[in-house]
Assembly symmetry: C2
Homo-oligomer: 501 residues x 2
């Protein structure tokens, strides 16, 4: 039995092809820019898609001749081919029996060479296609077509290759199957100075080779986990009947005044050359103020600090909605608690109270974490071993434990009764400090995630609904054990995949 | 048999509750900001979620007393409740037999009053919950708890209500079932001046009432279709093994130089008050240039014009990836072909050629359109009747027809042979005009979507791969019949839900 993944006979590919699809938002900022201005004039966009095949800089791609047949019928054209999902290494090795169920089948793998071990009669080449951390071990000998490229040292670590071979049982202990190659084609060669070799490299070093970082185990794993988290986010809300709303990014509104805003302008020359940014060339009025009428939108415009206002107008029409898009804060505060640019999810529930909020938040968090545990097992194993020991247990704990809710007032009482001396005093009306939160989740509730609700009015935002006691508001914070003072991090502080305000 | 959707006994809800989830991106723009800087320092974010219940401005919400039990065990807390999907009008009326299968069942509907017809012994109230265009007709008589609120005229069009009733067969011709109410509760009252009454209102007028626009049929339908398109986009790429990459929005790179950029800065006071934007207060160097070292990122920063460069670094590590996020162009060109802010999808296929590009583009377009046809039937019927006659046929045509591909050179030959006089001359090397494209799709190929490929090098971007003929590049444009000169519009030019560059 043989299954060959296209293209198996003729080879004509580029390392990278680009498609572009555009969904439109409007050009003009009008008075009501705070609402998604779907119906603005000039918002239609010419229906054209520009597709191109791009060769990324720095990677020389050797191409075989295209075998494009030249006998097009001008009056007939030719049918566009069927789009087929590629079979990836993750599916071969992640399948039943780690690939043993596919013995004897022929596969094509397209990826990048991780290591190459040349032995007297046989060469072992590890190829990674980015679908998982695992490489496919490829066995090459003199019967392999293209063996000369291996023998001559043309194919090295970092090269992109197209290989075709038969799945055979592996003699090695690291994998159950390997690919005995019939054919190897080098698609793009690699420089001997290729920096992502087998030895471990620091993240500081990788920052100087940012275009190659995704080829490391760590960055690849983070990208896959982020992807699963993002998709699980959409799945959760869609399955629960929420409508995704894309709130405007450029806005004249500062929502609830949540933070400092970045100004968006074309009054400053956009070349990025300091020498071309003459302050004197900024249009100004007689009084010496910036002449906003000459700016792109004819008035000051900013990056959104929150899509909440827009989402609310949709929630009070469509019921439950959510935003999931980038948000910006310009506070000049370089702490681990502040970000200049982040993707934020803002669900708005109609006809809901704080209990519904808490239920939704809990269900959401457990849903996405469960998705990661189920779909990123190998990546989490990697984090667990190399980045953050115990991460899998902590995430499993999050999914399997019931969340507990506790009013702020009770939390204060609990802390006052605690047989523990805190650095910061415990006092009704003060915000909880990390040490307090840690005590609550880790000691008082033995590792359970805890939601603190009904905070004092004076330490929360103005727009939160006041409770009937006149002193507290219907607000809540979710505390997750072992994540008290940092983001919910996959791996380490440096690897922020999902954090929750 | 009775199915009651919570809350059925005690009522304590706000019109709108907010959740916030934040996924982190970094604060610091460093040298390599063009790559998603996942591992930057300071990128972790404090794990806290601020939840609040917000009452939207302009809608007074009357609340019943909360029945929160006060006997919390300080040391025990209380379990967070289960999150349950709401049953919506779309599911009741969109089910088998349009709701007749649910006769005798008890339901709770939460929504907004569209119309109210008071008759001598009975009142008909149409309630919409945003799940579909259809309202639920509610029948109220003197036996209904809360009838006095209807009788006294307190509940009017636009009010938000909570109703509970039994599904009965409707005598009316417009619907098969209606809800005979046992109870009606007004959650938020409406002003007599509420502008979205039954009569048709212009979009120009609605622009001045932007916070209420989503309650109209048109805006509600557009929002639902956009949502289905966006989710189908993620589904398509995820099911085909693509990894979603969130490329940075604030960037120091201008990618392929695709367009003019907006500058992002904190050097200009962000209050938005013209009087506070004194040009003299912008920090400058001795030479009179803007002192970028005092800006937020210490250097000029801009809004991204494309995530392609970032996506390419991931595509050459993870294989197929896609971006789906906002993009910005600052060209001062107020045409229907340009947008200042738009959401763009940029798939990057590794080891792919133009044929794969075309297959992917075709499969994607057919997939998302099929999703809309299947999931937004009522909304499309509305567009078909009121906004754009024939839209359903055209979309069905798109899904059911094979797409045809044709090299640019053949397209020129076809146009030269055409028995038609064009306004713009047909000449190899010139870009195709709308009239040419229309002839190709509508006349020459009788309504088939056509992809034109292999354009002359000189009319395409510098980074496109040159074909072996030395004259053309591996680029393509997709032409869809009847959408030749405007966006793929659900409804009209004004209602741009998905357009494709």
């Amino acid at each position: 039995m043989a299954a060959v993944i296209s293209p198996a006979t003729s080879l004509r590919f580029n390392p990278c092809s680009t498609l572009r699809f555009i969904t439109g938002l409007p050009r003009k900022l009008s008075h009501h820019i705070l609402f998604p201005p779907i119906s603005r004039r000039h918002s239609s966009y010419y229906f054209r898609r520009s597709f191109c095949s791009a060769v990324p800089a720095g990677e020389a791609a050797e191409k075989t001749k295209p075998d494009v047949s030249k006998d097009w019928k001008v009056t007939r054209g030719e049918k566009v081919g069927e789009f087929r999902k590629k079979l990836r290494i993750s599916e071969i090795k992640g399948g039943r029996d780690e690939g043993l169920d596919r013995l004897g089948q022929t596969f094509v793998v397209k990826g990048w060479v991780r290591t190459l071990r040349v032995q007297s009669s046989v060469t072992f080449m590890e190829v990674n296609d980015g679908s998982c951390i695992s490489n496919m071990q490829c066995v090459i000998d003199s019967t392999t077509e293209g063996y000369d490229q291996v023998e001559s040292g043309l194919i090295t670590t970092g090269a992109s290759v197209w290989v075709e071979g038969v799945v055979v049982a592996s003699q090695g202990s690291k994998q159950k199957v390997e690919l005995k190659l019939q054919k190897v084609v080098m698609v793009g060669k690699s420089d001997p100075s290729y920096p992502v070799q087998k030895k471990k490299v620091s993240r500081e070093f990788l920052r100087t080779k940012a275009h190659l970082r995704p080829r490391t185990n760590t960055f690849g794993a983070v990208a896959r986990v982020r992807n699963v988290l993002a998709y699980a986010t959409h799945k959760f809300f869609q399955e629960n009947g929420f409508v995704w709303v894309s709130s405007p990014i450029i806005t004249a509104s500062d929502c609830e005044g949540a933070g400092e805003q970045f100004c968006v302008t074309t009054l400053i020359p956009s070349s990025g050359e300091p020498a071309s940014s003459d302050v004197g060339s900024i249009p100004k009025t007689k009084e010496g103020f910036i002449d906003w009428s000459q700016d792109f939108f004819g008035k000051p415009a900013f990056l959104t600090v929150s899509g909440q206002l827009n989402a609310e107008t949709y929630a009070t029409a469509l019921s439950d909605v959510y935003t999931f898009g980038p948000t910006f804060r310009a506070e000049n505060s370089n702490t681990s608690r502040h970000l200049a640019e982040f993707w934020m999810i803002e669900p708005e529930l109609a006809f809901a109270d704080l209990d519904d909020d808490m239920s939704c938040a809990t269900a959401y968090l457990q849903y996405v974490v469960r998705h990661v545990l189920e779909n990123c097992k190998e990546d989490l194993d990697f984090f667990n071993t190399w980045i953050e020991k115990g991460i899998i247990d902590r995430l499993t704990n999050l999914v399997e434990n019931d969340f507990v809710q506790l009013p702020y007032t009770d939390a204060i009482e609990l802390l006052l009764r605690a047989n523990k001396k805190f650095e910061y005093p415990v006092k009704w009306g003060s915000d909880l400090q990390s040490e307090h939160e840690r005590y609550i989740t880790e000691v008082a509730f033995g590792g359970c995630p805890v939601i603190i609700r009904d905070y004092p009015r004076d330490i929360k935002a103005f727009y939160m609904r006041q409770n009937d006691d006149g002193k507290t508001v219907a607000a809540m914070d979710m505390l997750v054990p072992k994540f008290p003072t940092q983001a919910l991090v996959w791996g380490s502080k440096d690897l922020c995949s999902l954090s929750l305000e």
